[in-house]
Symmetry: C2
Subunit: 213 residues, 2 copies
């Protein structure tokens, strides 16, 4: 029953994944356990998901799960780090774009955020639902706030440059603009109906040019 021979289709770029051995009992590798855990956390909520639930999902006993992972919160930590690292990367790329106006950098930040969100949808979805319920979650929220602050600064720069309307506070523009981006996690599916490029295009079109015909 366990789909142990297929590696995760969207493996994290972090920690070069443990090589699949060609012999011996297949079992699970840590990466697969992590992917299944993240999916389950997103379906049921992290707190509502017990290690028993994860064991059932994997077709293992609870103790066998603890062979693969040191704790439930460790799975959460790996997922949140993956999401935050990839968002950091996207943001840094947008901020350091050469020969770009503040307006262009902001557009890059939006499209880059959408792309990152879609590339790491499960982990980012989990991140956006964290409520600061433990030390671990508090730290993740702090990193998220830093990212949000940097995005707000990019909006401010674009307003100062004269590219964006000045009748709405930049902080509010930033909240609403990236609220729209983040709301993707509430409904988007990786079934090919909408790809990242198409979504980024729609969001930038609506946000910058408006909905009017």
């Amino acid at each position: 029953m366990p789909d142990s021979t297929t590696t995760s289709p969207a493996a994290s770029p972090a920690d070069a994944a443990a090589p699949r051995r060609g012999r011996g009992r297949p079992g699970y590798d840590q990466e697969t356990v992590l992917r299944r855990a993240i999916d389950l956390f997103n379906r049921q909520g992290y707190d509502a998901t017990s290690v028993t639930d994860l064991a059932n999902e994997l077709g293992l006993s609870k103790s066998a799960v603890y062979h693969h992972v040191s704790s439930k919160s460790d799975l959460l930590e790996q997922a949140l780090d993956e999401a935050l690292d990839s968002l950091d990367d996207a943001l840094t790329a947008a901020r350091t774009a050469p020969d770009a106006s503040a307006y262009t950098r902001l557009r890059l930040a939006v499209t880059g955020s959408v792309q990152t969100l879609m590339d790491n949808l499960p982990a980012v979805t989990l991140l956006l639902r964290v409520r600061g319920n433990s030390e671990l979650e508090e730290k993740a929220l702090a990193r998220r706030r830093a990212i949000d602050d940097a995005l707000a600064q990019m909006v401010r720069d674009a307003v100062d440059e004269g590219a964006l309307r000045a009748d709405i506070p930049p902080e509010l523009i930033s909240r609403l603009l990236f609220g729209q981006v983040n709301s993707l996690t509430e409904w988007v599916r990786l079934d090919g109906r909408y790809d990242a490029a198409r979504l980024a295009e729609a969001i930038t079109a609506i946000a910058f040019d408006g909905l009017h015909a």
Copy 2:
């Protein structure tokens, strides 16, 4: 320690609240317990909040809480019903606006949603975080889907009318537009910094006219 003499500042319009008696042991009324519970659910997450947590928040024992409320899920149900009923009302008002174009009705739906969200912020916040983890939550999600479908239809009507751009699928417009509205629950505070009218104005300005200067 319990702040039992002050009534909830934003009492629900539902079930005429139990009248505060002027004599006898003050204690809590059900409405206050509900408000404090919703706040706690929003801070920690519903599943992560135990009845013991709620008891501590109220300065009561766990059993005393059960004197006021029949179960933890009953508190959730009341909150979700409040949120869904108020959203239904706002939506119906927008849909049945007399002598209005589809475009005008859509704008009414947006401003009405923002107003409702701000008027019932804790309950609506809780609603938007429900993941379908029980029969109760599934039913709430079904009602939410019906509301989302109605909103999508309003967008479709406005596109058909020629008021909105037709190069983006109406379903996508609807998701992004109301994703922006719903993202308010992630950061907005009832501290008077932004009121509902101002937020609705900013959202409709950005969404319909765009961010360009």
